[in-house]
Amino acid sequence: MHEARLCLSLLDLAERHLERAGGERILAVRVEVGALSGVVPEALASAFPICAEATRARGAELRIERSAGRDLVLRDLEVC
């Protein structure tokens, strides 16, 4: 249930990096989700397009990479 909140943190972080990189739009977001991170990838994927709607990641693709352990990491962005 907290995936929407994490999604907002994810987008906030992504937009800050977009700004730093001087980009205009986020095309894709790559996230590593650990099996013990407490995050359900399917729930994150459902929340993402809704949370992204009012951001510069509107319509962006969410690429989720599953791993073991507790990590929940924003790996990189594709921007333009």
Binding site: L10, L13, A14, H17, R25, R75, D76, V79
Partner: protein, 252 residues
């Protein structure tokens, strides 16, 4: 057509993990490029938790988290703890502050307040766990002068509170006997986040098939060497061990 939302993009139910792109191509004159981030999404809360822990340590306060399912006896354990402290020193409960987390109502805060502790209730609404930011603001409402210990009673939940530190130095995971002794195996992330397992409601053991040793062994499969104790807030059994664990202090 995409079966997820009906847009024109390929994809659909077979690829539920990829939230498909509706505007996938860069605008003319703009090349797509990669930006490295490599940042934990929990980093913001971890930084808040560290700052809160240090602020409390500077005031000579240790915060202990209470985690567990709804109805596992978190508030009852606190009530009994305050009662025992008051029996030896009537002023002791006033040196305790409690942050209560629930989706709705201040029922728990009222129960704690009658025992003489300072208490702040967080009503989280739909939010399923507390975090360091919420707890920090709740503590701002309390006068912490003279306080030696803070208890953070998280929202009753065996999933979501695990990855979100609330500035505690230690966290106790409560499992009540009616829940069954296999709870630690069913919710391993919670056990991994705990510093002590507290089996509660042991006064009910004669009526249940709960095996305390089996429960502890199952928790230690997830977290070897995890300290464990068994209490009944109702009868007072095991409360000495709980108070000794609290008094031992220390950090993870």
């Amino acid at each position: 057509m995409c079966g997820t939302c009906g847009c024109g993009e390929p994809g659909g139910p077979a690829s539920p993990i990829r939230a498909h792109a509706h505007e996938p191509s860069p605008a003319p004159g703009h090349e797509a490029r990669r930006v490295e981030v490599e940042t934990s999404l929990l980093a913001a809360n971890e930084a808040n938790a560290r700052a809160l822990r240090e602020r409390l340590a500077g005031l000579g306060i240790e915060a202990v988290g209470l985690l567990g399912a709804p109805g596992c006896g978190k508030t009852s354990l606190l009530e009994r703890t305050l009662e025992i402290l008051a029996a030896t020193d009537p002023d002791a409960p006033a040196r305790v502050a409690v942050v209560e987390g629930d989706c709705a109502t201040d029922h728990d805060a009222r129960r704690i307040a009658t025992r003489g502790a300072r208490v702040a209730q967080i009503e989280t609404g739909a939010l399923c766990h507390l975090d360091a930011h919420l707890v920090g603001h709740a503590l701002e409402k309390l006068d912490l002068d003279g306080v030696e210990r803070v208890f953070v009673e998280n929202v009753g939940n065996l999933v979501c509170p695990a990855p979100f530190s609330c500035g505690e130095s230690r966290r106790a995971l409560l499992v009540s006997t009616p829940e069954g002794d296999d709870k630690p195996e069913k919710y391993p992330a919670m056990v991994a986040a705990a510093d002590c397992l507290v089996v509660t409601k042991t006064d009910l053991l004669p009526h249940l098939d709960f095996d305390v040793e089996r429960c502890v062994e199952r928790a230690r499969r997830v977290r070897p060497g995890l300290p464990a104790l068994a209490v009944s807030a109702r009868s007072g059994a095991g409360m000495d061990e709980w108070l000794a664990w609290l008094a031992a202090g220390g950090r993870r």
